[in-house]
Symmetry: C2
DNA sequence: GGAAACTCCGAAACCGTTTTCGGAACGCTA
DNA sequence: TAGCGTTCCGAAAACGGTTTCGGAGTTTCC
């Protein structure tokens, strides 16, 4: 109740008054406002006793410098914008967390905007960010498919995360899905698997294609090929995983490893295998992508997965943004290396 | 590449110059900066031809008003802080989305802070928010257990969401877990179930207790009691759900309904039931809490669940914050009504 | 004992807006 | 033609800080 400033007009509440300003501090300390400023910022030569008086005054008045006023002179606001395409998607989050982390608690503040995949909304948020004079912007996509860059002349650096910009002079950070595919294969190979099937997700996704590419290339390098000859594309769902796995074991009972497009498909496949009496991982290994904790650690056996290191992706994006703000960075696409998380299913 | 301002010092790039300011617009339009301001804000009496010239100049220079400067005079920044306790927890997200939604795209911008359940971090973020003179703050907890209020004198309104403040003079918005429990019971009762078991989560959580309370009261009102006499408390995991469900059907084979502490327990229970050859929902209904899409729609049959309407909770929090900024709002705890989402398992 | 070199401190300009208030130009009436 | 109202516009004062630059006071040194 000491919060709102909705005092009707009762003059009694002098204590409720406006927030203390530098002038107030200076007056209380008996110095000029210039000196107060210097004292608080540890600037120049200010006698120690003077500084102490100023600091004391500042704490007494609970003084917090007005960042807006400060930004006016410095030109920098110490804020960045983060435009996400879909917040409820689970990919934005770790990236956002990584970025938040890299910016350092308190130093840089993050404006969060959810564009929901809508270009109009995106434009709207962008304008708001520019009005607020953010020092830079990170654009986080919902899928790894390349997206058109932000339109208009943007007077601050922009980093594209997860979904790269189609403009190669922009700076983008994406997961290395091809490598992720290769890693999945070599993981299964090192577990002694040779007859591997690939149950993928929606073929329209770049991620599906790139993972398939990595898988194919790694198998070829090992002189092998996919059971069934090629990947099965479908949807990113458990249901698809269940059905596709059923068809695989019906047609190719010799299969001893399954690489699934994501952890949901992986979970669906596991369920089918178990229901059909297959022993995972003894008879068949199963591995997915994304390392979505709730999917991978829920079932028994727990599911191995390729983690795309999205938090690190977010941190990298933030670091790149920093560098861009300071000077130039090399344009182009950076790929974040994935890592294998081994659990009971392989 | 036209983004960074890292021009070493080459004076050639006059085009790369600093962002256009109101003065530039005024000069270009041949008017005073006061008039330019008025024209852009549709203020006072400005001759139409003059306004048109100013607007033309503004668009030509791609002028965006400096919000910081504007805030200096208005005193309001049009920003709010959102301090979340754990971003990766799935409860903050919908709340955050609801809030973002209610604030309206562009009008109000949201500073996102992740305190990770650490009071020090929280303090740090809070200071940063106050420096930036946010107009208000929403604090989102990770659990519904009451939490101590923010420390220190906060000169702006604060709304506590999901986790209420222990201070009853604060404003809090929480899900109505007691009602959620009641709803679960009445849903099963209306499906003709009478012998209901309750497999809950960690008893240390207020949510677990409140749901149990609601369940108990609704059953009592119907003249029934829980199979086994009381709720089974354990963990919020699928594994616990599997084990607990097994014990329930072993000991009480007459059970015809299971209320599970959350969707993960629910899923675990479903798996056990199916593996034991029970038919869901014919033989036994299953319902959980939270309505976590990936958990509820993944398995077959899909799982019914009580949705706590977290997005609406977020919207409500945002609206309350608005009202607090304008004037006063009644302190205390608001409870958001849940809703039953019926799927195949009941 | 006076000049030079320091050490502290404050007046004032500035950042980019909004807003008040007075003045100029104009049309109209007497 | 003087007087009066309107209508537009601009000078200037905020807003809350930072920073430059010069002035006053104190040492140090010859």
């Amino acid at each position: 109740m000491t919060t709102t400033t909705g005092t009707t007009d009762a003059p009694e509440g002098e204590s409720e008054a406006r927030r203390a300003t530098l002038r107030d501090v200076a007056t209380l300390a008996g110095v000029s406002i210039a000196t107060a400023s210097k004292a608080l910022n540890e600037r120049a030569h200010v006698r120690e006793s003077t500084r102490d008086r100023v600091l004391a005054a500042a704490t007494e008045l609970a003084f917090t410098p007005n960042q807006a006023a400060r930004s006016l002179t410095s030109g920098q606001t110490g804020t960045v914008g983060l435009i996400a395409d879909d917040l409820d998607g689970r990919f934005s989050l770790p990236i956002l967390m990584g970025a938040e982390d890299a910016f350092g608690t308190g130093q840089v503040s993050v404006f969060l905007c959810d564009a929901r995949g809508d270009a109009i909304r995106e434009r709207y948020h962008l304008d708001a960010l520019l009005r607020r004079k953010v020092d830079g912007i990170i654009v986080v996509g919902a899928r790894t498919d390349a997206r058109p860059p932000l339109v208009g002349r943007i007077p601050v650096p922009v980093i594209y995360a997860y979904a790269p910009s189609t403009d190669t002079t922009d700076v983008s950070v994406v997961p290395d899905d091809v490598q992720a595919g290769r890693d999945a294969v070599s993981h299964l190979l090192s577990a002694g698997r040779q007859r591997i099937a690939h149950i993928s997700g929606d073929a329209a996704y770049t991620a599906a294609q790139e993972r398939a590419t990595g898988i194919a290339s790694a198998l070829e390098a090992a002189g092998l090929e996919l059971v069934g000859g090629s990947a099965q594309f479908g949807a990113w769902s458990e249901q698809w995983g269940r059905g596709a796995a059923q068809r695989v074991i019906d047609q190719y009972p010799e299969v001893d490893g399954m690489i699934c497009g994501n952890d949901q498909i992986s979970r669906g496949a596991l369920e089918t295998l178990q229901r059909s009496g297959w022993n995972v991982p003894h008879q068949t290994s199963v591995i997915g992508f994304d390392n979505w904790e709730v999917m991978t650690t829920g079932p028994s056996p727990t599911l191995s997965s390729i983690d795309l290191n999205l938090e690190q992706l977010g941190r990298t994006a933030a670091e790149l943004l920093f560098e861009s703000i300071q000077g130039q960075v090399e344009p182009g696409i950076r790929r974040i290396t994935p890592r294998v998380v081994t659990r009971e299913s392989s």
